[in-house]
Symmetry: none
Subunit: 226 residues, 2 copies
DNA sequence: CGAGAATGTGAACTGCGTGTGAACCAGACC
DNA sequence: GGTCTGGTTCACACGCAGTTCACATTCTCG
């Protein structure tokens, strides 16, 4: 739902930067102050930030500091800087991941963003269960569909993980109770139905059909090819 | 004893590169081939490598690959590249840590090396564990959040350090007792709860949510991003 | 087309898991 | 011995998640 979006500073952002980002089909939002950044962020978080220190270095670095001090630091953070300001970097190594001297070649921006995103994406790859646009992070107990985070309860997560681990395979309710709830579990089979229903609701109308009902048998995730 | 030495390719290295390195008092050794690199290395290892892909891209990338494939990859690895070769980077993100377009400004080299070495120093030294505004100094057993010192007890510190060392990952109580309290520890799982509670109190209302409860599972520090 | 079975849905109920305050205990220090 | 600090355990309250139930809807097959 919420696309990946880069934070730009200042507002308006440098024309050449905007042109390059648009050309590369990157989403971005320019902000003029730390307050604006918070406001514009909403609850989606930033894919990264590109901070231009040319016009107002103090505020720019203050913004970097703010983005880095968070509980979830904004990464990657790319700083645009003029050749004459290079000395500023030395004492601020903790405030950026990469820098680029202005003016820059559009290809360089593309290359740097590409490399930064590549690094971010491969940082200690967690164990994942994936199926199409559905992704389950086993380590953090988080789930996303189309990149949108799903707020699942424990049993919902366990059920979805089990189904997603065996895509296309149909499980009857008893089996699901045994495998997901535990072999010693004794409860009504309708419990499964209700959990499936809540999962479908949280998956959203668009993806509700991911979990399919097989009448007189049980449930499965995804299409089986036949 | 053995001074820090950068590996340069090719041999002879570009004059402007050599001049800048000498000016910055960096030690370096230029090599003309992978074989030469092994020979010149001896048993001291490289502080890092600066590879110029201008003259002979294929051999240059092959050298990068060789340096990266080792059990202990050579880091940091800085690639010098001409503007027209930028596209080469896209498929070789794993072969370098940073790149610089030639011709370059001596100050840029200095800044990039400075940043790369700063990052490397971070990585090697596990003396500090950091996560956002939280910083733990492993040597002095001091902790700060937003620069404000935290007065933690031993177990509080150990627990926080462990969680902060694996940000985003969820640990159940048993695992925490094993890893933080010790494998031979046998005590109630509620101990973890109470320590978490005290940690949250000391972190302050603002950062109490840094340690998150994952119902029916355990605790984790911070949010993992997607 | 209609009856019965299977599933979807809304809502109420209930218990487990967690937060929290406080007591308890052991060791260090004076 | 007294006190202080830090770690563990206990008891209780509360809210959410899991379960169950009743009813609506859909599907299947004669």
């Amino acid at each position: 739902m919420t696309a990946e979006t880069f934070l730009l500073y200042p507002d308006p952002a440098p024309a050449d930067l905007v042109r390059s980002l648009d050309f590369g089909a990157y989403n971005w939002t320019a902000v003029g102050s730390i307050g604006d950044a918070r406001e514009a962020e909403g609850d989606r978080g930033w894919t990264g930030a590109i901070i231009n220190t040319a016009d107002n270095p103090d505020d720019a670095w203050a913004l970097c500091r703010e983005l880095r001090r968070r509980d979830v630091p904004v990464e990657p953070l790319l700083v645009l800087i003029s050749g004459s300001q290079l000395d500023d970097l030395e004492t601020r190594n903790d405030l950026f991941d990469d820098f680029m001297i202005t003016p820059f070649h559009p290809r360089e921006l593309e290359a740097r963003l590409g490399h930064l995103l590549w690094k971010a994406g491969r940082g200690v790859r967690p164990e994942m269960v994936e199926h199409g646009s559905l992704a389950l992070n086993v380590e953090t107990y988080q789930a996303t569909i189309d990149g949108r985070p799903l707020d699942l309860t424990f049993m919902e997560y366990e059920l979805l993980k089990f189904l997603a681990s065996h895509p296309g395979k149909v499980f009857n309710r008893e089996t699901l109770l045994n495998r997901v709830w535990g072999y010693d579990y004794y409860g009504g089979a309708r419990t499964v139905d209700v959990h499936v229903r809540r999962l479908r609701a949280k998956l959203g109308e668009e993806h509700a059909s991911l979990i399919q009902t097989v009448r007189s048998v049980g449930y499965k995730l995804g299409q089986s090819r036949w």
